[in-house]
Symmetry: C2
Subunit: 169 residues, 2 copies
DNA sequence: CCTTAACTTCACAAGTTTGTGAAAGTACCG
DNA sequence: CGGTACTTTCACAAACTTGTGAAGTTAAGG
């Protein structure tokens, strides 16, 4: 650890090791199903001090075209993982990650869960609720319903725990 | 609902509506990041009455080659979402889904979570724990650590709840 | 209003993924 | 041990994805 050999306490931002982190983190997001470019953009935002970068900054840091940044940001905004803000007095836009908002977005996937449940319900219907397969699906459905409730409660607990650790928003 | 127009209670397995379910469910697994073929194979297994199918049965139902089935099953077995069993007295293999085992496999992703945490810890190190970015990562890390503990506890509660709903294993 | 900085859209080329047929490998069974 | 019934591996073609440059659009500022 502390491979940069800097004295602890110093806030020297070594671009190379930052980039290394960005790429590792992005790789894990990709592994978890996110597309490559949104993952890289998101990781870059997450590890910026201001929490917000312009399109040009992102393009330079990641060595990609404005078009790529544009597409990635559109996706991230749709997923509520970043928000866009216009810099006043400039035609430049900045993309911001609200540190906690992003994992809230990932866990608050009510709509997604609801669709899974809907599909499963249809499955139980077409297989017949009393067939072995129907029962198997019904159990899966019950699990998802349970999950949905638990996730909400868990995020509530997290907010409390978070405040203990880091204080007010 | 009950689009098949069969009297309730009847266990008529309409191959077409089953296939429709298989494809919808598979599509959702794909959306969640699983590869296409493993998703289809898994959905087919999940909606089979026996909970187990041979390679030939899967190939026929899904209209794919034995090679495709082989690859898909290898992946699913690695993820512990199906298990393989040799039929005694035959050289045929069957692939089985243990109704509850599969979502246990999906939620028991300790190793995966651990790797995220490791990456985040490195990130905090290279950004500096007292920088804004470092603090942001530290919060994300704390969230993952919290998640890890919560997930385990949640699955414990689910097992109890499940037993209430469906009885013993 | 015109200029211009910045973002977005689009057609396409490069790269990657996916499923196939054919050949090779395994292991039951006589 | 040889035959055969499966399964797996492999090289490749088709289909899809991804990022680019260039043209198009928007709106800030003169």
């Amino acid at each position: 650890m502390n491979a940069g050999m800097t004295e602890p306490g110093e806030a020297v931002r070594d671009p190379e090791s930052v980039s290394k982190f960005v790429e590792s983190f992005a790789a894990q997001l990709v592994e978890a199903g996110m597309q490559r470019m949104p993952a890289r953009v998101f990781a870059a935002l997450l590890s910026s001090d201001s929490g917000a970068l312009t399109s040009a900054e992102l393009g330079e840091q990641l060595q990609v075209s404005p078009a790529a940044v544009s597409g990635a940001v559109r996706y991230l905004a749709q997923q509520h993982m970043v928000s866009r803000e216009r810099e006043p007095g400039s035609r430049r836009e900045r993309y911001r990650v609200h540190s906690n908002q992003w994992y809230e977005a990932v866990t608050n996937r009510d709509a997604v869960l609801r669709r899974w449940e809907h599909t499963l319900r249809e499955g139980v219907d077409s297989l017949g609720a009393r067939t072995p397969a129907g029962r198997r699906l019904a159990e899966t459905l019950a699990f998802f319903e349970f999950l949905e409730a638990e996730l909400a409660a868990m995020m509530e607990r997290w907010r409390v725990h978070r405040e203990e650790l880091f204080g007010e928003l």
